[in-house]
């Protein structure tokens, strides 16, 4: 089997087109859940759903294997690919029972199961190969992992959850960036990136006045820029959550957990 994934960039552009067309409302339209679509009898629907699911979870699974299972990069990459290949072939994900817990926990347990039962070198050879499931840039992920050694001692669920959160926001921000580029609002995104990503990353305390000075715009414009991009990030976060939850109740719980005060 060979599963094809869009490249990250083209995928984001495609998704943003949909997002822009639906951006008039405060919330994303209700989509059929990706998790439900995986159970579809239509192979095309199933493949698209699986593709979306892998985009959402490839990175958290890989990082989880690196951090929690102490796998080296190649090993974690192979195992992650094998996980998604098995999930697709064996229809493992179709066994998910929403009454027994959240989907993310189910996935994490499946990953644990795979990592625990992976003993032989023969399996290692079997992994990878013809199956190319990697919607993310591995070098980029490794860079993200640098300096995260402290995470190795954390609760497995917490590690997986945090990486999933990071992946969720990463996706939303990428989509917002493409959107801003398309709408000629690159400065808005730059302001957002400077204030909401770079400054916290570097532990820097930045005021709106400093930001206005850096970008040569009025403070009110800084507020508008930030509000606009945050709104779009929120929109895309909700869209991804909608795609990866099975019903309204689960969606509401996830939203509260992700964005809750």
């Amino acid at each position: 089997m060979c599963l094809h994934f869009h490249s990250t960039l083209s995928m984001e552009h495609a998704l943003v087109s949909d997002a822009i067309s639906a951006s008039s409302g405060a919330f994303p339209d209700t989509h059929r859940s990706t998790v439900d679509a995986i159970r579809s009898g239509d192979p095309d629907v199933r493949r698209v759903a699986f593709d979306a699911l892998a985009r959402s979870y490839w990175k958290p699974v890989y990082k989880y294997l690196r951090l929690r299972w102490h796998r080296d990069s190649q090993d974690a990459q192979d195992l992650t690919q094998e996980f998604f290949a098995r999930a697709y072939q064996k229809e493992m994900l179709e066994q998910y029972d929403r009454d027994r817990g959240r989907f993310r926990t189910f996935l994490r347990i499946c990953v644990d199961h795979l990592a625990q039962n992976e003993h032989t070198a023969a399996m290692r050879i079997k992994r990878g190969g013809s199956v190319a499931i990697r919607p993310w840039d591995l070098v980029e992920i490794e860079q993200e992992l640098s300096g995260m050694a402290g995470s190795r001692e954390e609760d497995p669920d917490a590690v997986f959850h945090r990486e999933w959160l990071r992946s969720l926001f990463d996706t939303a921000i990428r989509r917002a960036r493409v959107e801003c580029e398309r709408q000629g609002k690159q400065t808005a995104f730059d302001v957002f990136e400077r204030y909401d990503l770079l400054a916290p990353n570097q532990g820097e305390s930045l005021t709106y006045a400093q930001l206005a000075d850096e970008f040569g715009v009025p403070i009110t414009q800084v507020t508008n820029y930030l509000a606009f991009v945050r709104r779009r990030v929120r929109h895309h976060v909700l869209a991804v959550l909608r795609e990866t939850t099975t019903n309204d109740a689960e969606f509401a719980v996830e939203v509260r957990e992700v964005l809750g005060a």
Binding site: G25, A26, F27, T30, E140, Q143, E144, S146, R162, L165, R166, F169, D170, I173, R174, R177, E181, Q186, T187, D190, E193, R194, D196, L197, L198, P200, N201, Q202, G203, E214, F215, G216, T223, N224, L226, A227, R230, R231, V233, R234, V237, L238, D248, F251, A252, V255, R256, V258, L259, G260, A261
Partner: protein, 322 residues
């Protein structure tokens, strides 16, 4: 990854992201700021979040025009329907007319830049009732609190508003003993179509919700709130050896069949007031002994004086033989 690749801030390449890795700190920051309402088109500056309920979040905001702090509640329902905004405005207008010392006044209603309805209200500092009771208050004060809640709710009923979610967490006790009924977000307004709560038929909190609410009965009336008031009274009597008449008041207020409950919140308040005054209550038929005991307690001072007088005369009689 991603560290700062721009030589000068604001001069980055258009197509290459500057930041490629979201640190834990940035992640928490993002979660916080993306959830905040966009108030850029309003006269309010967000200060800090105060709490989050089933329907929305409440923030402490600064009103620039009036230079004061108020509470702002913004709906964050994820399946918000367009008609809901219209309902919110209508409900806020109605609540704004509920000028009563036991009801938090609504100041303003509007829409955030990103399309979420909000309203502002007086900022109330104090303790929620469920926390207030842990401070060890006496029975008399507990009953007084319920009476004052009943007064506020009866006032709202008189203007066609049914609260529908009376519970300890929605009652605030102010620093000067003020009793305020909060969170009218799921209130039902007579004549209005629907409520603020999406899917609105089942609104309320288990344990404090009337049976008809639990069953999704669309024809709710004031007696649903009477049930909630009775549940509040029951909550305040927990752990206390309550007299039978008081328990009977509780039972009557929380009767399964609403026809058997007090017809109005005012009737319930009157029965509680009767009990506090040592008078018979409508919910309980007392025995002659209980009646005598109640009268003795109610008139204990004159009764004590009479007994003292009789005792004194008896003593005199024994001493003088006359």
């Amino acid at each position: 990854m991603m560290q700062n690749s721009r030589s000068k801030c604001g001069k980055s390449s258009v197509h290459e992201p500057v930041v490629t890795r979201i640190s834990d700190r940035a992640l928490e920051h993002l979660r916080r700021v993306t959830d905040r309402p966009d108030l850029s088109n309003t006269r309010y500056d967000l200060v800090e979040p105060l709490g989050r309920g089933g329907m929305g979040s409440v923030y402490l905001v600064h009103d620039r025009d009036l230079d004061r702090r108020v509470a702002l509640k913004v709906l964050v329902s994820e399946s918000i329907a367009p008609a809901m905004c219209e309902r919110l405005v209508k409900e806020a207008q109605t609540l704004a007319r509920l000028e009563h010392p036991g009801i938090v006044p609504v100041h303003d209603v509007g829409m955030t830049e990103d399309g979420f309805p909000f309203y502002t209200m007086k900022l109330v500092r104090g303790l929620r009732l469920d926390r207030h009771v842990t401070t060890g208050i006496a029975l008399a004060e507990r009953l007084q609190i319920v009476e004052r809640i009943c007064d506020a709710v009866a006032f709202a009923h008189d203007r066609g508003v049914v609260h529908r979610d009376l519970k300890p967490a929605n009652i605030m006790i102010g620093p000067f003993g003020e009793v305020l009924v909060m969170d009218w977000g799921v209130a039902h307004i007579r004549g209005a179509v629907g409520t603020l709560r999406e899917g609105g038929d089942v609104a309320g909190t288990p344990g404090f919700m009337s049976p008809e609410q639990e069953q999704g009965d669309g024809c709710l009336d004031e007696r649903s709130d009477v049930f909630g008031l009775g549940a509040l009274l029951r909550f305040l009597l927990e752990g206390i050896s309550a007299p039978r008449p008081l328990l009977a008041i509780c039972r009557k207020a929380t009767a399964f069949d609403r026809a058997l409950r007090y017809a109005t919140a005012g009737d319930l308040a009157r029965d509680i007031a009767q009990f506090r005054a040592g008078l018979p209550v409508s919910a309980y038929r007392e025995t002659p002994v209980e009646r005598a005991w109640r009268l003795l307690r109610r008139y204990r001072v004159p009764v004590a004086l009479i007994f003292a007088y009789i005792g004194m005369r008896l003593v005199l009689l024994l001493l003088t033989g006359n």
